[in-house]
């Protein structure tokens, strides 16, 4: 990489600094049809790539807070049981709390349909838009559906992210807390393979515990791997099929409502 120095308020770099001030001319053929040789000016930028997303996330967070709504971003791999858990959640909490759901899916309204009929307000985001669809929700996507939710009437917004252990972890959508649903069918090593996701969560629901007798799953090894990447995460063992552990999850959600701004 070239040497940097100040020049007319910008930062230049010269790849050939052994010849003093001469500019790098190796790209003279690129895009220059004028007959002139043109040099390259290096301009320092230092701008965060997710700046726009993070600004929108901050606006979402402020809107949630202004309406006294707690927002929880729920993430998992496909098929780990997010929607099944949320069905139980709506069944148990809909009488006591007003809940909105932001449902992210690449295609179809299948998950949104599974959550209908429990009295919650549901806003669907289909992320498919060419190239196979976005694999995550980002802050502008969530912002685009906030107007569909009666925020002033709600206590809690559950944001069901796209099933994926990689990308959703990278995008702040304006949530107050992050929860992850992990199924024991996924194997003990997942925290080590997807450390960014597991590190980003405040809570990990260890789901499908009803299958434990049928699997060679080593729960202690999984928990040790989880601790290795995220010592602080709360862990709730659950089964969204039998309903075990769902009360503890619902209590955690109530605690988030109490502590969110």
């Amino acid at each position: 990489m070239g040497r940097f120095h100040r020049h007319d308020g910008t930062v230049h770099s010269h790849d050939d600094d052994h010849i003093g001030h001469s500019h790098d001319h190796e790209h003279a053929e690129v895009g220059d049809h004028s007959g002139y040789l043109t040099g390259t000016e290096r301009v320092e930028v230092l701008e965060r790539i997710f700046d726009e997303n993070d600004r929108t996330a901050a606006a979402n967070r402020a809107d949630f807070a202004a309406h006294g709504v707690c927002a929880v971003n729920v993430m998992s791999s496909p098929g780990a049981g997010k929607t099944a858990l949320l069905r139980h959640t709506l069944q148990r909490l809909s009488g006591a709390l007003r809940i909105g759901v932001v449902e992210g899916d690449i295609e179809t309204s299948l998950d949104a349909d599974r959550l209908a009929g429990f009295g919650a307000d549901i806003a669907l985001i289909n992320t498919g838009r060419g190239f196979g669809g976005e694999c995550h929700l980002d802050a502008p996507m969530v912002r685009s559906v906030l107007a569909k939710l009666p925020l002033g009437d709600l206590d809690l917004v559950l944001i069901e992210n796209v099933g994926n252990l990689v990308c959703p972890a990278e995008f702040d959508v304006g949530e107050h807390a992050r929860a992850m649903v992990y199924a024991i069918t996924e194997g003990e090593e997942k925290p080590l393979k997807y450390p960014v996701m597991f590190r980003s969560c405040d809570l990990v629901v260890v789901n499908k515990m009803d299958l434990l007798p049928h699997l060679g799953f080593d729960l202690d090894l999984f928990l040790a791997n989880l601790r290795a990447v995220n010592p602080a995460a709360t862990v709730i063992q659950a089964s969204a099929r039998t309903g075990d552990g769902v009360d503890a999850w619902c209590q955690w959600l109530r605690d988030q409502i109490q502590t969110s701004p």
């Binding site: 895009g31 004028s34 002139y36 040789l37 290096r42 701008e47 700046d51 694999c135 990278e170």
Partner: protein
């Protein structure tokens, strides 16, 4: 997996900062924990920029290894391939991340001279 949308975010910043000038190289600094595959990012950049004002520009990725510092004993270490967030010296899990989450555009190489 999200390299294409990352490239979209980079292109938005580059177009604003270049303000119409020809962009030759975009320098980005990306930490190990950002889950970006550099080759995929470069491929997506070419895909995204084709037939735009940024066509022909190059994406130069500077990878930053993840490193941690132990708050208990002060030892620093690179994370390596296994993301164990614990001190290799005293085994404390009270560690802070020193690097590895960088996600920046650091510089642009812009054409200077006659035809800008």
């Amino acid at each position: 997996m999200h390299e294409l949308s990352v490239c979209g975010a980079i292109a938005g910043i580059v177009e604003r900062r270049a303000a119409g000038r020809e962009v030759r190289t975009v320098h980005v600094r990306i930490g190990q924990l950002r889950q970006i595959v550099p080759d995929t990012l470069v491929y997506c950049w070419e895909l995204l920029c084709a037939d735009t004002a940024l066509a022909g520009s190059r994406l130069e990725v500077e990878g930053i290894p993840a490193s941690i510092r132990c708050r208990a004993c002060g030892r620093t270490a690179e994370l390596g391939d296994l993301p164990i967030f614990a001190c290799g010296g005293c085994a404390s899990t009270d560690v802070e991340l020193l690097s590895g989450e960088e996600f920046l555009i650091t510089a642009l190489d812009l054409a200077e001279g006659a035809n800008t």
